[in-house]
């Protein structure tokens, strides 16, 4: 390791604005796997503002391990071939603030760890990106031992755990503000 002591100051972020339309969305952007893929699920929900009104112009990205917990190093997130799992997805919400990804349940990257999907939120009116996590609801023991979830109150940790729907889909709302405001994260060095 040759890390030197230079610490450069990060460039400031800015809002994505409303007009990213032909730049960021692309064909099959929200399809990490084909719908016909065995074990495919829908991950969906709504992005809300501080008055509980859905936001029509947010853009979300997810990045996750595959079903067995492997972090993909494959390229091909922009030009999808329907076979390669790259772990990355992007979706613009619709006019009702709703988003849908087609993906798989992420596996635990280490035994006993609570699996989660990393999520980034961008929106007009949001001056910088927001990071959060989407945890799967099932493994209650792993959830109870998770360092991040354990550092939150019961009330707040609920905002990071998705709901499992009867058909196996995951439901996860994002609230930028107000009651049940989603827990957003900052990382060391950021």
């Amino acid at each position: 390791m040759t890390q030197n002591s230079t610490q450069l100051v990060a460039t400031p972020g800015q809002t994505i604005g409303p007009f990213y339309g032909y730049a960021l969305p692309y064909e099959k952007d929200s399809q990490l796997v084909h719908r016909a893929h065995a074990g495919s699920i829908r991950l969906h929900g709504v992005v809300y503002d501080g008055q509980g009104t859905p936001i029509p112009d947010a853009l979300l990205e997810i990045w996750q391990a595959d079903e067995s917990g492997v972090i993909s190093r494959e390229t091909g997130s922009l030009v999808r071939d329907n076979h390669t799992f790259t772990g990355f997805g992007r979706v613009a919400v619709d006019n009702e603030g709703h988003y849908t990804f087609t993906t798989v349940n992420p596996g635990a990257t280490q035994e006993g760890k609570a699996p989660f999907i990393s999520l980034v939120v961008f929106a007009r009116g949001l001056l910088n990106k927001l990071h959060t996590r989407i945890y799967l609801p099932e493994d209650t023991e792993a959830l109870a031992n998770d360092p991040l979830l354990s550092s939150l109150t019961q009330e707040r940790r609920k905002t990071l755990v998705a709901t499992r729907e009867a058909n196996g889909d995951l439901y996860f709302d994002i609230r930028l503000q107000g009651e049940n405001e989603t827990v957003f994260l900052s990382y060391p060095g950021a």
């Binding site: 990060a10 460039t11 972020g13 339309g21 960021l24 922009l78 009116g125 990382y187 060095g189």
Partner: protein, 281 residues
């Protein structure tokens, strides 16, 4: 506004108005009023800094002069997390994803786009000054008349049939990127009365960790609209604001072809334990 009403389709201009909180006259606020609000926040910041509060390097996410931020910023502090697993890696991109020609926004149609042809180049580095290699850089922008190709942009400026304003590239081994494009123009928006955005190019960037993911805007030096713009001014510190302004570089300018700008981008620090091969210079 109701959930199923598209807020912008029927308007003749870009809407940037959250009418529910800001009273319906908000879009009629004068520039003087907005500027006064901006200056007040900046003065308070300067005073705080003089009293020992930390220097700010990122935009405020709660910045009332930017009306759309009022209902869209978290009110609770960001929760400190130690990045784990997937957060310590970024998705991989390659030339399967991005074709080399996508970095030239002036050759995407049958004819030449109108406006001042420019080259923008720079490096993407992480907080330790290491080049961010083979990562995706995406840009989008208005055309030379200040119009986006977007169904919701109804600003009555001409669409250029030869300019979509969208480009991509992968950074090189030294973290470098380069785009050929057209200098975008300022455009009006409805944050307040007579609100105009300084000319800018939107940039989207990935680092080596997903925690470094960033979207920002690059501005052009000497823009007279800087002091009036609540989005640019949401960065309270002048030094930090300056980091978003490209430099005119006559060495990048090419003879009878394009003017040139350089702009380096620094992502936040990486939390990964670096392997030898990744760290090799």
């Amino acid at each position: 506004m109701t959930a199923n009403t598209d807020e912008t389709f029927d308007e003749s201009h870009v809407i940037e108005n959250d009418s529910a909180v800001i009273d319906s006259d908000a879009a009629a606020d004068s520039q003087d009023f907005i500027t006064k609000q901006i200056n007040q926040i900046h003065d308070e910041y300067q005073q705080g800094k003089a009293e020992g509060k930390p220097e700010e390097t990122q935009p405020r996410i709660d910045f009332a002069p930017y009306r759309s931020s009022v209902l869209r910023h978290p009110t609770k502090d960001l929760h400190h997390a130690d990045p784990e697993t997937i957060e310590l890696w970024s998705p991989a991109f390659g030339h399967r994803d991005v074709h080399a020609l996508e970095a030239d926004l002036t050759i995407q149609h049958n004819g030449e786009p109108l406006g001042e042809r420019i080259v923008v180049r720079g490096k993407v580095l992480d907080g330790a000054g290491r080049p961010v290699r083979n990562q995706l850089v995406e840009i989008w922008q208005a055309n030379a008349a200040g119009r986006y190709i977007h169904k919701r942009d109804q600003h009555p400026a001409p669409i250029d049939p030869n300019f979509t304003g969208v480009g991509r590239c992968l950074t090189g081994d030294d973290g470098s990127y380069e785009f050929t494009t057209i200098k975008p123009a300022p455009y009006p928006w409805k944050n307040h009365h007579n609100a105009w955005r300084p000319a800018h190019i939107h940039f989207s960037l990935f680092g080596t960790d997903f925690t470094q993911r960033m979207i920002t805007q690059m501005y052009f030096p000497g823009d007279p609209l800087f002091s009036l713009d609540p989005i640019y001014q949401s960065i309270t510190d002048q030094k930090a604001r300056d980091r978003l302004v490209a430099t005119y570089d006559h060495n990048v300018t090419s003879h009878e072809w394009a003017t040139g700008y350089t702009w380096d981008i620094v992502l936040s620090g990486s939390n990964r334990t670096w392997m030898e091969d990744e760290d090799a210079e």
